[in-house]
Point group: C2
Amino acid sequence: MTNQVPDNHPRAASLRQRYAIAAHAKTGLVAETGTISHGRGEAFDYLLGEETPEPVKEHIKQAAALLLQAKHPVISINGNAAVLAGQYFSELSKAIPAKLEVNVFYGRTQERESMIAEFLKQYGANDVLGINPEARVPNLHSARGSVDKEGIAKADVVLVPLEDGDRTEALIAWGKKVISIDLNPLSRTARKSTINICDNITRAIPLMTAYAKELKGYAPEINKLADSIDNDKATARVLRFMRERLQKLEDELEK
Amino acid sequence: MTNQVPDNHPRAASLRQRYAIAAHAKTGLVAETGTISHGRGEAFDYLLGEETPEPVKEHIKQAAALLLQAKHPVISINGNAAVLAGQYFSELSKAIPAKLEVNVFYGRTQERESMIAEFLKQYGANDVLGINPEARVPNLHSARGSVDKEGIAKADVVLVPLEDGDRTEALIAWGKKVISIDLNPLSRTARKSTINICDNITRAIPLMTAYAKELKGYAPEINKLADSIDNDKATARVLRFMRERLQKLEDELEK
C-alpha cells in the first residue's frame, strides 16, 4: 500500500481518505471497526458520484441554521471524523460557535480520548470536551453513554457525524435535536435524527461553515430554514437522486 | 467490540462477517485495507437487502456452467475471501473440480501466502497453489502480477472473488474468461469481467456449488447456459433491482 496518490487520479480524494483511515487504524486514532465503517461510507459516496447532491446542499443549509439557532450547540467527534475532517470541524466550531466533544464508541480509553483531542488541537481547536466525561446519556449502557456535563449533556443541538443508531435514538429521546451526517440514507441514524446530511463529511462540513457565515445575524432567515426541516422528505429526495443515477447507468448499459 | 452476536439479531450474519474480518486484520490474514473493502461490500449488500436477488441466481448458474465447461478452471483466493468463505470455496473447488490459488494484492509475502493456504486446508482444501509463484500476468506490474504457472497462468476460466479492476482487465487481456464476484455492480471489476456476480460470497458460493452439482454431466445445458452470458444485461438487471428497492423505500417515506 502506498500513500502516494497522483493528483490527476480521478478518485484521488477518495483514495487519500482511505489511506489516512488505514494509517490511523495503526496509530489507534481510528477504532478497530472504524476502517469497515469507512468502507461503507466509500460505497455510498460512490453511488452519489462523490459529489454533494443538489438537494443535500439545502439540508446542509438547514443544519447550519439549526446550529446557529441553538443555545448550546455541540459537535461530537470520533476517530474517523477527526482523521478525515479535523480542520473543517475546528473551523465550523469557531464559525457557529459550538463546542467540540470527543465521542468514542469502541475502545474508549482516556488515552484515546486525549489522542483525538490533541489531533483536533493541531488544527486550531481551542478547547475539546469529552476527556474522562462523567455525565451519562439516559438509557444508553456501556462506554457509548458517556458524555461531558458541559457538552452534550447540556446541549440542545448536537451534530453527530458518523454516529451509530442506538446513540442517535437515545439522544433524541433525551430531548436533543440531532444533526447526523451519514452517507447511508437508510441507516437508523439517518432515519431517526432531526435532519440527516447524506454526504461525505469532507465536503459537507466546509459547506456548512460557509452557510453558517452567510446566515449569521439573519434571525428570520435562520428561523425559516430551521422550521422547514423535514427529515423524511429529505431522505426521499436523496433516495430519488440515487435512483435516478442508477437509472441513467442502466439506460447506458441497455443502449 | 464483542464477537458475541445473538442469533435473533436481524443482521447477525452481516455482523459476524464484520467481526471475523476485524479479527483477521489482527492475525494478518486480512490485508491492511481489506477491512475497508469489506465495509464497501457491506454497504452494497445492505442495498440488496442482504439476500441474493432473483436475477443474480441466474448469473450464478451461468458462472457454474462456465466453470464446468472450462479445461483449467482456477479459483483465486485472497485474505478476505478465505476468512469469509474458506469452507465454501473448498467445497466448490471439489465440486467442479477447480484448482485453488492464493492471490494477494497488498503485503504479498510468502508468509501471508502460506497463512492463507493453511487456513483453506483446515476446511479440507487438498492442494493450494500460489505459494511463491513464478509466472507473471502480462503488463501487470508489482506483486499483483504474480501467478502460479500451474494455476492462473494455465487457466482458461478464473473465478476472482473480491478482485481489483487492474487485475481483472489484465486477465481478460491475457485471454482468460473471468467470473468476478463484486457487490458493487458499477466497479471496473464488475464491468470488465466476463460475468459479474453481484452478491455476498457467503451466499453466492454455496449456491454456485449446488448448481454445479445439479448441472454436472449435462453438456447441452451447460453449453447453453455458458453461451447465454451477457454481462451488460446482467449488470442492468442488478441496477434495476437496486433502483426498484430504492423506489419502494422512497414511496414509504412519501406516504
